[in-house]
């Protein structure tokens, strides 16, 4: 018989009243700190249901076994009526995405294994999005975009968001920018589908109620030839976020809260499913931010049940038919966490781990050298709107260099065109200029992952940076001794105004 839904009392996670208190640490002790953190976190975790034991699928079909969203998506994609966590299945892929860093390698392997004259399984299901190392003089980086152009021409790839004029991104009508944001904006994300990408943050698309995860070049080469991939069905951890979202809190705070709770390996090999009244109130871009950092908890994929917000976004961008799925009432989850969002406070992830969570207000003595607002995590239109809103409310100038890198061309245009609510018709760009920020840069992944030496806003000195990006391991943005505080756009903007890590409530209430 199908296992019942978790019956023990929900684990109510209040706020981070006891954050783990690592307010000061030295580089040499960081490793033991992370281990302490992980061990003490695992003691706090309450697993409210034992993981599924080995169970063969019902053979008669008369036993109705509930499946989670992810199980259903994978079952359908594998043309099976039932799957359980642990099953290794061959799955049909709906969309494969690649970019300038991994595309050449993936196609190289495809040709090596299937032959120089081989053709991809479906030229309309592959989306090639140069975005990582674009606006650079690095010859190899430029070469990689050219290589992708050759492959796309040869294979007749329908969706290649090309760039040829590196000096002026606007001169490239096809160019989009950051792959995960472009996928959503161009209508490639659809509920119920299987989307794979040669990038760890492919999990972003789970916001659309689909199975989306990152793979390497070799797996991608395999998918290019076959349209299939061998996957192990992951068990699902459920995160129920209820309560009204405070005005100073953003999805970035929610996911940093969760990662701080379960650690960077807390969701390894698992699905993170997000639901609850707070989730339902989030916009698509906020949901994308939430799912984006699932990989930082080790998660295989993140999912959010599609609703009117999802359908409204998707139906405006694609005419490809899709069929959403939802977790059954009697589906089995390996763990359940509940959050009362109204009690949460803005948080940051201190150097050098995304799970090194601390309250923003408790870091107010940390002097910073710069602020970076960008990336698939925090460089979308709403992220810039939020930062602009805070700058406008404060009416002050930034105290440190503040770098702005819109994720895509479309975001860049929104920054220059859309009026910021409550500002009397000013655009983000105007507000940023008045606040003394750097001019919004050409859209790409930018300095989120360091990049070639000439990358705009790269951390080339051992400085302290508050960033809306997704990882802060040593050397992530360039310099090995750089110190990166991951934060929401509100927190980043507030910090820029004071020159210290700052809780946005200082300027918003």
């Amino acid at each position: 018989m199908a296992s019942s839904v978790i019956s023990s009392s929900p684990f109510v996670c209040k706020s981070s009243k006891k954050d783990l208190g690592f307010s000061s640490f030295t580089k040499s002790s960081q490793i033991s700190i992370h281990r302490c953190q992980k061990k003490s976190i695992s003691r706090k975790i309450v697993s409210v249901m034992a993981p599924q034991k080995d169970r063969s699928p019902g053979t008669t079909g008369s036993v109705k076994t509930g499946m989670t969203m992810t199980e259903k998506i994978l079952a359908r994609a594998a043309e099976k009526s039932l799957v359980v966590p642990g099953d290794n299945i061959w799955v049909n892929v709906d969309v494969l995405m690649t970019h300038d860093v991994c595309g050449p390698g993936a196609f190289g392997i495809f040709k090596r294994e299937f032959g120089e004259k081989a053709k991809v399984w479906d030229p309309e299901k592959i989306v090639v999005i140069p975005d990582h190392y674009i606006f650079t003089a690095d010859k190899r980086a430029n070469r990689n975009v050219d290589i992708m152009r050759e492959h796309c021409k040869e294979q007749n790839i329908k969706y290649f968001y090309d760039i040829t004029d590196l000096g002026n991104f606007k001169a490239n009508p096809d160019y989009k920018g950051v792959c995960h944001v472009a996928l959503a904006q161009e209508g490639h994300c659809r509920p119920g589908e299987v989307l794979l990408g040669t990038d760890s943050h492919t999990c972003t698309a789970g916001a659309f109620g689909q199975f989306a995860t990152g793979i390497g070049n070799t797996d991608a080469g395999f998918v290019l030839g076959t349209g299939k991939i061998l996957l192990k069905v992951p068990p699902t951890m459920r995160f129920i976020l209820d309560g009204e979202m405070p005005s100073y809190l953003q999805a970035k705070d929610l996911i940093l809260q969760i990662i701080g709770e379960i650690s960077v390996a807390g969701a390894t090999y698992k699905t993170m499913e997000f639901s609850g009244t707070c989730i339902e109130s989030l916009s698509m871009e906020e949901r994308m931010t939430l799912c984006n950092m699932v990989v930082e908890a080790g998660g295989k994929n993140g999912v959010i049940p599609p609703d009117a917000t999802t359908l409204n976004y998707v139906e405006n961008r694609t005419s490809v038919p899709f069929e959403p799925v939802y977790s059954d009432g009697n589906a089995s989850f390996v763990a359940e966490y509940r959050f009362d969002v109204s009690k949460l406070e803005p948080v940051v992830a201190k150097p050098h781990s995304p799970d090194n969570r601390a309250l923003a207000r408790e870091c107010k003595d940390v002097k910073i050298d710069r602020v970076y607002i960008g990336s698939c995590t925090g460089g979308k239109t709403e992220d810039f709107m939020a930062a602009a809103k805070l700058f406008h409310a404060a009416g002050k100038k930034v105290k440190v260099p503040t770098f702005l890198v819109p994720a895509t061309q479309k975001v860049w245009m929104d920054v220059y065109a859309l009026p910021v609510p409550g500002s009397g018709g000013k655009t983000c760009a105007q507000i940023f200029e008045e606040a003394g920020c750097d001019t919004p840069a050409s859209p790409s992944c930018g300095a989120c992952l360091g990049g070639p030496a000439d990358t705009y806003a790269r951390l080339n000195e051992p400085q302290v940076c508050v960033s809306t990006t997704n990882r802060n391991f040593p050397g992530r943005m360039g310099h090995k001794e750089g110190q990166i505080y991951l934060a929401s756009p509100y927190t980043a903007a507030a910090s820029a105004l004071t020159g210290r890590v700052t809780d946005p409530r200082e300027f918003l209430q």
Binding site: P104, G108, R112, K117, Y133, G216, T226, L230, A265, F473
Partner: protein, 257 residues
């Protein structure tokens, strides 16, 4: 994958020689644990006495009745890392412009392997100016390989000459990429071997036919049972995802251009 794993069918010396698609160091009986014949970077000091012991042990284990034959063996110096070694520490993102499927790029990636480690690690995995590492086995803690899906991570380790990684636990994409590429053999320990081994210890990793594995630290004279490969086993055994799929009839044999 199969080309980078060597079965202990003759002597341990052979198992240390680079595989056919890596640098061509010739087989020589002694001093055999130099991975790069031209480098005088090191000579295993405790070698002579322990090396014969190793050979005896290896052949003993394969001839004991009822005991599983050893399928793969990796031997050499170990390089010890701790928890949460992310892909940017394994290979800083700036080297992501190199394409792993191009041999010259792959070689360069090897020379930068573990370049991103913070200074306090002391030892460099690859000495600046060299292309290969003198370390054969990487020992790690929890969540090894977390971060990016970029295959540059397992590729650079394999290109540098590392043969196996033994970690307490792995991040999934990195583990999957190890299995798919066959660049480096990923094994899981049952205890925190990273706390009991030191960089430079001489170790042997044995992977047996029944799927069990063992790590022997000759310097500390301790042995550690490792976890079986689990579901990745059949894919690794077949030789990677393409070979596995061919075996399963999912795709035809590779056609030549």
């Amino acid at each position: 994958m199969a080309t980078s794993l060597h079965s202990l069918n003759s002597t341990l010396f052979k198992s240390l020689a680079s595989s056919s698609n890596k640098s061509s160091s010739s087989l020589s009986p002694s001093p055999v644990f130099r991975l790069n014949p031209t480098s005088t970077a090191f000579i295993f000091k405790p070698l002579t006495s322990s090396s014969s012991a190793i050979i005896i042990r290896a052949s003993a284990s394969s001839s004991k009745s009822g005991e599983s034959h050893t399928r793969e063996t990796f031997h050499g110096l170990c390089f010890v890392l701790k928890d949460n070694i992310d892909t940017d520490q394994i290979i800083p993102a700036e080297y992501g412009t190199l394409i792993p499927s191009i041999p010259e790029d792959r070689e360069k990636l090897g020379s930068f392997a573990l370049n991103g480690l913070p200074k306090f690690y002391g030892e460099r995995f690859v000495v600046p100016g060299e292309m290969k590492s003198k370390y054969s086995v990487i020992i790690g803690g929890d969540n090894f390989g977390c971060g990016s899906s970029r295959e540059h991570a397992p590729v650079c380790l394999g290109a540098a000459g590392a043969k196996a990684v033994v970690a307490e636990s792995y991040a999934r994409i990195f583990f999957r990429n190890c299995v798919a590429t066959g660049e480096i053999f990923p094994l899981e320990s049952e205890v925190r071997i990273c706390d009991e081994c030191k960089t430079g210890d001489v170790v042997t990793v044995e992977h047996k036919e029944d799927g069990s594995s063992l790590l022997i630290n000759h310097t500390t004279r301790k042995e550690y049972k490792l976890k079986p490969l689990g579901d990745a086993g059949p894919v690794i055994d077949a030789g990677g995802i393409f070979a596995y799929a061919r075996k399963a009839g999912m795709i035809p044999s590779a056609s030549s251009a």
